[in-house]
């Protein structure tokens, strides 16, 4: 089934990627073109094959509840993204040990963001 412009807008929003309006149709066509090849899968009966394979898989190894953790060889400030500081220089987006992001008023804005 072909992907519409609205579908592209919806999945781009979920993926936090801005797609310019001009590129919507091209992208919708490209993705539809790729997905058309996937229709071949519907031809083979496969119900439950993955579940059966999963049930045969070995379980994961667990680890002990103990240190040491994997150390950081460079400080967090060295890899933090940068923002414009005073004097228009780029400075790490960190303050007093916190990572900084553009302000959200409260946690509920998160839901709006979601």
């Amino acid at each position: 089934m072909p992907i519409s412009r609205d579908d592209v807008l919806h999945i781009a929003a979920l993926a936090r990627i801005a797609v310019p309006t001009a590129g919507l149709d091209t992208l919708a066509q490209e993705l539809s073109g790729i997905l058309r090849h996937m229709d071949a899968l519907q031809r083979v009966p496969s119900e439950g094959a993955a579940a059966a394979a999963d049930d045969a898989r070995e379980g994961m190894r667990l680890r002990a509840d103990a240190p040491p953790r994997v150390p950081l060889e460079h400080p967090r400030e060295s890899f933090a993204p940068t923002i414009e500081g005073r004097d228009r220089t780029r400075v790490p987006a960190m303050m007093d040990g916190f990572f900084l992001v553009p302000r959200l008023a409260t946690h509920e804005d998160a839901d709006e963001e979601a």
Binding site: I3, D7, V8, H10, I11, A12, L14, A15, R16, I17, A18, V19, L27, E30, L31, G33, I34, L35, H37, M38, A40, L41, Q42, V44, S46, E47, G48, A49, A50, A52, A53, M60, R61, R63, V70, P71, L72, E73, H74, P75, R76, S78, F79, A80, P81, T82, I83, E84, A93, F99, V101, P102, R103, L104, E113
Partner: protein, 482 residues
């Protein structure tokens, strides 16, 4: 003991390590030779463009510190730029990680370093390993050393070109659907994709976690096996999908294949395969017969579904794996309108077109209403593809032989349709989906361009895979490059 006209660097990893261990060469001198070779072959951005970062002085210092008694003492190596190293970048050839230096080291990188290998550069690649040509790099396309108008293959094209051009004898790449074997075939070298879980993925920047493997390049089978022995093995402390299995030796002097049954799956020899390629494959099969192997026609009936399955599962996993690139803790950040604006500006500008396409595709196949039709279906068919392999291997077949790619290296810009590009993985994706080990080795040339042959073995039976590859390499001899 290395008394030949060929410079030590060109004699391979085994010869270098022997010389350094014996004290007849220093790690520093080998690393110097490696940098000289890079200059000689014009490895930089205007030339092969196979390295996205390197630092001669730092590498020489690392050479001076390298243990001189290791299995890879003094061996210069290139690591694909998606394998974490605490010096040089780990950018995945993406704007979103441009200049990023990892504060921790990948297990495979650590094991190489402890064996005495010296990092001389990070290999160019398709952004986040998504591509089959190393054209989708934020730092420009890499070139094929054998014909610079052509692609080196991808996504590990930089590592492959570095080995093929003689800058290093061995290198690490990564595979999700053929990204080591295909560039190995295109560049006329050896490329290994081990069994899933054989080499720890800790420190390999994830593209599609259930398919990703670190892989090994070498000019000779023996060098590839040597590196495999170093980087393989249990790392369940850092990677829950790592196999808690001891590593048997992969190197062998056995060249006799008597009693061995090698399957020739008909789905890998379609009518569309160019005749010249098909002839090189037949010559390779004759070589295997000459070593005593029985060649048996077999079938892996779900092979034609591998590419569609792959291009559902890999994008789905990638859409989640690449969500962490959000401008909050590391990497690129571009301010926008509030938090959401920052996310969208950062990700839209940070990711290239192919990565964006796959993230969107993956988001779509997982989204409400489509999951069952795409993702669940693909997982089911993946299980059928896996079953194809186990059925064949259970029927008395020890290994399979196939061509590695449907065509030799293509011209830059020759393929623009995404799905056509995806189809160049048609013979390699199956091994990733079925988690089995596979190796590509040179089996000849067509119009001067290398052709690769692939040996596939059962899970965790790299020993058989290598045994067949050693025998084939020796039997073909110089034919492998004709």
């Amino acid at each position: 003991m290395t008394d030949t006209a060929e410079p030590l660097l060109m004699q391979g990893a085994g010869a270098i390590a022997r010389a350094v261990r014996a004290g007849s060469a220093s790690a520093r001198s080998v690393v110097e030779a490696s940098f000289a070779r890079a200059t000689q072959v014009d490895a930089g951005p205007g030339g092969l463009n196979c390295l996205v970062s390197s630092d001669r002085e730092a590498s020489l210092r690392a050479a001076d510190r390298a243990p001189e008694d290791g299995a890879l003492a003094g061996v210069p190596v290139v690591l694909k730029d998606n394998i974490a190293t605490t010096w040089l970048t780990t950018s995945c050839a993406s704007r979103i990680l441009e200049g990023y230096v990892s504060p921790y080291e990948a297990t495979a990188a650590l094991r190489l370093r402890e064996a005495g290998a010296v990092l001389v550069g990070k290999g160019n690649m398709d952004e986040f390993a998504m591509g089959s040509s190393t054209e989708h790099s934020a730092f420009g396309a890499a070139r094929n050393p054998l014909d610079r108008s052509r692609v080196p293959g991808g996504s590990s094209g930089g590592s492959a070109a570095a080995v093929a051009s003689g800058i290093v004898p061995v290198a690490l790449g990564s595979e999700t659907g053929g990204s080591v074997r295909q560039p190995a075939a295109f560049c006329g070298i050896v490329g290994v994709k081990p069994t899933y879980g054989r080499i720890s993925r800790f420190g390999l920047v994830a593209f599609a976690s259930s398919l990703d493997n670190i892989g090994v390049f070498g000019r000779r089978v023996d060098d590839a096996a040597r590196v495999m022995e170093v980087v393989s093995g249990d790392d369940t402390e850092h990677d829950a999908t790592s196999a808690p299995r001891a590593v048997a030796g992969f190197r062998t002097s056995e060249r006799d294949l008597t009693g061995m049954v090698i399957g020739k799956p008909k789905e890998y020899f379609p009518a569309s395969l160019p005749r010249a390629n098909s002839e090189r494959c037949e010559r390779a099969l004759d070589a295997l017969r000459a070593r005593g192997a029985e060649i048996r026609d077999v079938s892996l009936p779900h092979t034609d579904l591998a590419v569609p399955v792959y291009y559902i599962i890999a994008p789905a996993e990638c859409s989640a794996n690449l969500a962490r690139f959000d401008g909050v803790r590391y990497g690129l950040r571009i301010e926008g309108d509030g938090l959401r604006g920052m996310y969208e500006a950062t990700r839209s500008r940070g990711f290239g077109a192919e990565v964006t396409r796959r993230i969107l595709l993956g988001t779509y196949v997982l989204s409400a209403g489509y999951y069952d039709a795409y993702y669940r279906k693909a997982m089911d068919v993946r299980a059928l593809i896996t079953r194809d392999f186990s059925t064949v291997f259970a029927s008395g077949v020890h290994a399979l032989f196939t061509p590695t790619t449907p065509t030799p290296a293509f011209q830059h810009g020759a393929i623009s349709d995404p799905y056509e590009m995806y189809m160049s993985d048609i013979f390699t994706v199956t091994a990733n989906l079925a988690e089995v080990p596979a190796i590509s080795i040179p089996i000849g040339r067509v119009d001067g361009l290398p052709v690769g042959g692939q040996v596939i073995a059962p899970r965790f039976d790299e020993a058989t895979m290598f045994k067949v590859a050693y025998a084939l390499e020796e039997e073909l001899g110089k034919e492998a490059h004709r």
